[in-house]
C-alpha cells in the first residue's frame, strides 16, 4: 500500500511540473476579491503604475495650474496637444444636422476597427457611470464620457477648455464665470445649458441624494456645507445660471484652484434627472448624452458598451467608435491581455509574478508605460494626541529608522516607486522633495538618541505596537514587515503588522478619537493643486496631527490670489512644517504604469514634457483630452483576428 502511495505521489509531482512548465513557470495568480477595492475618486487610470517618475520639474505642473487660476481668461484653443489631429477638430466645427464624419490619421485602421476593449473590476461596487451620482461606485470602468466637463487636462496636466470655452474671476476673487460652448447638444436635440450644470451641482449637494463626494466642495463653494446639512435650501448653493450659456460659481473664500476643481463637472441633463432620477444613465433607454459617446449596452456585472455619439458637437470628438468594457476580476486582466482580448490593462493589477513576466518579455516591456499615476504617497501616521506619539522626539526617531532606498530596491522595486521624505511627489505643483530630503533621512544612530532623549532608551518602557494596514497588496504587506523589523532592530520596539479589511480600517481611522495608534495609509490627488493634497493634514481632517501654524499657512496659501510663486512658497513652508513636526513618516511615492498595445496611438500618447509616453491620469474620460486623440492603428491586425463585438 505504501508503495502505491509513493507511486501516486511521484506521478503527481511529475504532472505538476509538466503543468507548470507548460505555463511558462508562472506562479498562478490567485484571485483576491478582497484586494480589489476600487481606488478613490478618479477613474481607471487613477490606480495605475509608473516607473521612476524621474525628476519631473516641480515647476512645470505647478505653473500650469496656478497660471490657469490667476488668468482672467483661459488660454483659448491653446497648445498643439489639445488640437489633437487637426482633422478631427475641423470636423467638429462642421456643425449641422448630418453627423460630422470622422477623419482618421493615415496610419489608422478603418473606422469599423476603431474599437477599444478594456476590463473593469466587476467585484467592486459599480452602480453608475456618472460622477455626480457616485464617485466611489463607478467600478473603475470607463465612465464620465456622456457629457463634457467644464475643463479637461492634457498629458502635461495643463487645464484645457472643455464645455467652457473660457472663464474668469471677478476682482473679489469669489465669483467665477464660465462661458459654455453654445454648440453642445444633448442627443434628444435640446441644447446643453447652464441650467443643466446648476441642476447637477444641486443634485450633488442634495441631502436626499446623499452623494459620497460632498466633502470635495466643503468650505469651497458658497453655502455648500449648509445645503448638504439640510440647513439651507438647494437654491442657496453658489451655482447660478446667468443665462443659457453662462454659469456663475461663487466660492466661500477666494479659491484660485476652482478651475482645477471643475475638472469634475461632467454635467447631467436636468430634464432626465427630474424625469428618471440620478441613475438615468444606467439604461440605454433613458440615457441621454452630450458627450463624445453614448451608452449602447450595460449588462450589469458583464459588459458595458459605448459607441461614438454621432451628434456630438464638442471639442473632444473621438476617433474610437466603440468602447467595450468587460466585467472581470483584476487578477484575470493579465491573462486576457496576453490572449489579445483586451487592449489596455491597468498596471497595479499585475501581480509580482506577472511583473516578472513583463520584465522578461521584450514585447510586453514595450507595452509597459510608466507614469505618475495620481501622485500617490504612502505614509505612516500615529495617534498624535496620546503618548507615546504626542512626543515629537518619538516621532522623529521613527522617521529616521526607515531605509526607504532599501525598501524600494528590495521590495517595492524601482519601477514601482520613489523613496519619499516628504508628501508631495516630484512633478506635483509645489513639490519640494530635494529641499526636504534631509529632515526625515535614514539615520538609525540619531533615531536611537532621540528615543533615549524621549525617555525610552533602547525602547525600554515603550508599549508594544500594532501597525495597521488597509487591505494592502502583498508587496506593501512585505514592506510593512520590513518597517516593523527595522523599528525592532534599531529602536528595540516590538511591532505587529495587521492587515485590516478596508472598511474596518477606515472606520477605526476616522473614529473620534481615532482608534489607530500606528498605521500605514496613502493618499492620491483629486485635482492638481497643493491645496488638495496638503488638505489631508488640516486639523479635524483625516489625522489628529493638529497644528495651528500649519492650518494658518495652509488656509492663507489656499485662498491666495496674488503671485503664484509666492503661493507655491507658502505651500512649501506648510509642507516643511508637516515634515519637520513629523505629521507623518513618508515612505514612498507610487509610480505606476499600464500595459497597452502598440496599436493604440495619438498625440496624447506621445511623450509628455518630461518624456513619458503613457495614458496619463485621469485616463479615457471627458476629464481628459485623450478621447479626441487616441485611435487604433493598422498594426491592430497583427493582434486581433477579428473585430471585437
Amino acid at each position: 500500500m505504501i508503495r502505491h502511495r509513493i507511486w501516486s505521489i511521484t506521478t503527481l509531482l511529475v504532472v505538476f511540473t509538466l503543468f507548470l512548465s507548460a505555463c511558462g513557470g508562472t506562479a498562478p495568480a490567485v484571485p483576491s476579491a478582497s484586494n480589489t477595492t476600487p481606488q478613490a475618486a478618479p477613474t481607471t487610470a487613477e490606480a495605475t503604475q509608473a516607473t521612476g517618475a524621474t525628476s519631473a520639474s516641480a515647476a512645470t505642473a505647478a505653473s500650469a495650474m496656478t497660471s490657469a487660476a490667476a488668468t482672467t481668461e483661459a488660454p483659448a484653443a491653446t497648445s498643439a496637444a489639445t488640437e489633437a489631429p487637426a482633422a478631427t477638430s475641423a470636423a467638429t466645427q462642421a456643425s449641422g444636422a448630418a453627423p460630422a464624419a470622422v477623419q482618421l490619421p493615415a496610419d489608422a485602421a478603418p473606422l469599423e476597427q476603431q474599437v477599444y476593449v478594456t476590463h473593469y473590476d466587476n467585484t467592486a461596487d459599480f452602480t453608475t457611470i456618472d460622477f455626480y451620482e457616485s464617485v466611489y461606485k463607478r467600478g473603475g470602468a470607463i465612465s464620465d464620457i456622456l457629457s463634457d466637463s467644464l475643463v479637461r487636462l492634457d498629458k502635461n496636466f495643463k487645464l484645457q477648455p472643455g464645455a467652457a470655452t473660457k472663464w474668469e474671476v471677478d476682482s473679489t476673487g469669489l465669483v467665477w464665470t464660465f462661458h459654455l460652448d453654445p454648440n453642445l447638444m444633448w442627443t434628444d436635440d435640446t441644447p446643453v445649458t447652464a441650467d443643466d450644470y446648476v441642476a447637477t451641482f444641486r443634485y450633488g449637494a442634495d441631502p436626499k441624494h446623499a452623494w459620497d463626494f460632498t466633502w470635495f466642495f466643503n468650505g469651497v463653494i458658497k453655502n455648500w456645507d449648509d445645503v448638504v446639512a439640510g440647513k439651507k435650501p438647494l437654491t442657496d448653493l453658489g451655482f447660478k445660471a446667468v443665462d443659457a450659456h453662462t454659469l456663475q460659481v461663487e466660492t466661500q473664500t477666494p479659491a484660485p484652484y476652482l478651475p482645477a476643481m471643475m475638472l469634475y463637472s461632467d454635467t447631467m441633463q436636468k430634464k432626465a434627472l427630474e424625469a428618471h432620477g440620478g441613475l438615468y444613465n444606467s439604461d440605454p433607454a433613458t440615457s441621454v448624452s452630450s458627450g463624445p459617446f453614448i451608452l449602447q449596452e450595460w449588462k450589469k456585472g458583464e459588459r458595458l458598451v459605448y459607441v461614438a455619439n454621432p451628434k456630438y458637437k464638442g471639442t473632444n470628438k473621438p476617433m474610437i467608435q466603440k468602447i467595450i468594457c468587460i466585467g472581470a476580476a483584476p487578477s484575470t486582466d493579465f491573462a486576457a491581455y496576453q490572449s489579445n482580448e483586451i487592449d489596455f490593462m491597468s498596471g497595479p493589477n499585475l501581480s509580482p509574478a506577472d511583473n516578472t513576466i513583463v520584465s522578461s518579455d521584450l514585447d510586453l516591456q514595450k507595452d509597459y508605460h510608466p507614469h505618475y499615476g495620481d501622485f500617490r504617497t504612502h505614509y505612516l501616521f500615529f495617534d498624535f494626541q496620546n503618548p507615546p506619539f504626542n512626543n515629537l522626539k518619538v516621532r522623529q526617531a521613527f522617521s529616521h529608522v526607515i531605509d526607504r532606498d532599501g525598501l524600494i530596491k528590495s521590495i517595492i522595486k524601482p519601477t514601482q516607486g520613489l523613496p519619499a521624505y516628504s508628501f508631495l511627489m516630484p512633478g506635483f505643483p509645489a513639490a519640494n522633495s530635494e529641499a526636504l530630503k534631509g529632515i526625515q533621512n535614514y539615520d538609525p544612530a540619531a533615531a536611537q538618541k532621540l528615543l533615549a532623549d524621549a525617555g525610552y532608551p533602547g525602547g525600554k518602557g515603550f508599549p508594544k505596537l500594532t501597525l495597521w494596514l488597509r487591505n494592502e497588496a502583498p508587496v506593501r504587506q512585505a514592506m510593512a514587515q520590513a518597517i516593523a523589523a527595522s523599528i525592532k532592530q534599531n529602536l528595540g520596539i516590538d511591532v505587529d503588522v495587521s492587515n485590516k479589511e478596508n472598511k474596518t480600517f477606515t472606520d477605526a481611522m476616522n473614529a473620534k478619537p481615532t482608534q489607530i495608534q500606528f498605521g500605514l495609509v496613502d493618499y492620491g490627488m483629486d485635482f492638481l493643486d497643493p491645496a488638495n493634497m496638503l488638505g489631508v493634514f488640516k486639523s479635524g481632517g483625516r489625522h489628529n496631527w493638529n497644528n495651528k501654524q500649519f492650518d494658518d499657512l495652509y488656509n492663507k496659501a489656499s485662498a491666495f490670489t496674488g503671485d503664484p510663486q509666492e503661493r507655491t512658497k507658502m505651500f512649501q513652508d506648510a509642507e516643511k512644517l508637516l515634515v519637520s513636526d513629523v505629521g507623518s513618516v513618508f515612505i514612498y511615492h507610487r509610480t505606476p504604469g499600464d500595459l497597452y498595445r502598440p496599436y493604440l496611438k495619438g498625440t496624447e500618447l506621445e511623450p509628455d514634457q518630461n518624456g513619458k509616453a503613457a495614458i496619463h491620469w485621469p485616463g479615457f474620460t471627458s476629464f481628459s483630452t485623450l478621447p479626441s486623440s487616441m485611435y487604433v492603428s493598422k498594426d491592430v491586425t497583427n493582434y486581433r483576428k477579428s473585430v471585437p463585438q
Binding site: T11, P28, A40, T127, D212, T214, K300, T332, Q338, D507
Partner: protein, 308 residues
C-alpha cells in the same frame, strides 16, 4: 412520512428565524457601512444623509422587524450594489447562471466520479486504480482556483483554444465546469471506491457470487446499492455548494453568476443582498438535508424516519 415532513418543515421555520437574527446582528456588527471614506472622513451631515437614505439611522431592532416584515411580503429590498433592480431581480438574473454551471457540473462530475470509483474498486491495485487515485488526489488537494488558473494559462494564454472567460456557448463552459467539477468528481470517486471495496468483502456479496451471478450483476444490483449510502451523506452537501455558485471559479472565468455576491455583499456592506443570500443558502442546505434523509429510506429500506 407526512407527519415527519411537517415536523421537519416547522423546525425549518425556527432555523430560518435563528439564521436571520444571527446574520442580521453579525452583519451590523461589522465596522463601516455602505458609505465610503477612503479619502477623507465624511462630514457628519453627509454621513447622516447616507445613513438616512439607506434607512440605517433607525434602531437595529426596528430595522430588523421592518426587514422581516417586508421579506414576508416577498420584498427583500434593493441591493446597494445594483440600485436599479431589487434583490430578487439581481438573484433572478444571476442565480440561473450559477444553477446552470452547477447543474452541468453535477451532471458530469458525479456520475463520472462514481464510474471512476467503480472501475477503481473493481480493478483494485491495477494501473487503472492508480490513475484514478492520482486524479482524485489531485482533485481533492488542489483548490479549484489553482486548477482554474492552470486551465486558463494552458488553454487560453498558451494554446489560445478557449476564451479566457465569459458566459455564452459551450466553449466558455468547458473550463469553469472542469475546474468546478474536479473536486466533487474526485470526492465521488474516492468514496465510491472505498465504500465499494468494503461492501465487496461482505458475506452477502460472496453469497451472490456463489449463486453464480455474473460479476457485473453482483456489483450493480447488490454491491453498489449498499455502497451508495455513505455517498449520499458525502455528496448531498455538494449540491447546494455547487448550485449557489463559487466565487473563485465564477470570478476567474467571468461567469455572471451569484457566487461573487456572497463575498462582495460583505465587503461592500450591501445588507439587503447579504441577508437574501444568507437566507437562500439556509433554505438550500435545509432542503438538501431533508432530501438526503428521505433518500436514505429509498436506498436502504431498514432506515425509518422518526414519526413514520
Amino acid at each position: 412520512m407526512a407527519r415527519y415532513l411537517l415536523g421537519r418543515v416547522i423546525g425549518l421555520i425556527g432555523v430560518f428565524i435563528a439564521v436571520s437574527i444571527v446574520a442580521f446582528l453579525l452583519m451590523h456588527s461589522i465596522p463601516g457601512g455602505p458609505f465610503d471614506e477612503e479619502k477623507s472622513p465624511l462630514p457628519p451631515a453627509a454621513r447622516a444623509n447616507i445613513l438616512r437614505k439607506y434607512g440605517l439611522d433607525r434602531p437595529l431592532y426596528i430595522q430588523y422587524l421592518r426587514y422581516m416584515g417586508s421579506a414576508l411580503h416577498g420584498d427583500f429590498g434593493i441591493s446597494f450594489q445594483n440600485p436599479t433592480e431589487t434583490v430578487l431581480q439581481t438573484i433572478g438574473r444571476t442565480w440561473p447562471v450559477s444553477l446552470r454551471l452547477g447543474g452541468l457540473t453535477i451532471l458530469i462530475a458525479l456520475p463520472l466520479g462514481i464510474l471512476l470509483g467503480i472501475i477503481a474498486a473493481v480493478k483494485q491495485n491495477t494501473w487503472i486504480d492508480y490513475v484514478t487515485t492520482f486524479v482524485s488526489t489531485l482533485g481533492l488537494t488542489v483548490p479549484n482556483f489553482v486548477i482554474a488558473t492552470w486551465l486558463l494559462l494552458l488553454f487560453s494564454v498558451r494554446l489560445r483554444w478557449l476564451p479566457t472567460g465569459g458566459w455564452g456557448g459551450w466553449k466558455t463552459w468547458i473550463m469553469p465546469v472542469t475546474a468546478l467539477g474536479l473536486g466533487p468528481m474526485a470526492l465521488a470517486a474516492r468514496y465510491t471506491r472505498s465504500s465499494l471495496i468494503e461492501v465487496m468483502r461482505a458475506d452477502y456479496i460472496r453469497t451472490a457470487h456463489a449463486k453464480g451471478l455474473s460479476g457485473r450483476r453482483v456489483i450493480m444490483r447488490h454491491a453498489l446499492k449498499n455502497a451508495l449510502i455513505p455517498l449520499i451523506t458525502i455528496l448531498g452537501p455538494q449540491v447546494p455548494n455547487l448550485v449557489t455558485g463559487t466565487i473563485f471559479v465564477e470570478v476567474i472565468f467571468r461567469v455572471p453568476g451569484l457566487g461573487k455576491f456572497f463575498v462582495s455583499s460583505i465587503y461592500l456592506r450591501d445588507y439587503p443582498m447579504l441577508m437574501a443570500t444568507m437566507l437562500l443558502v439556509a433554505l438550500l442546505w435545509s432542503a438538501t438535508y431533508l432530501l438526503s434523509d428521505i433518500l436514505y429510506t429509498v436506498v436502504d429500506p431498514r432506515v425509518r424516519l422518526y414519526g413514520d
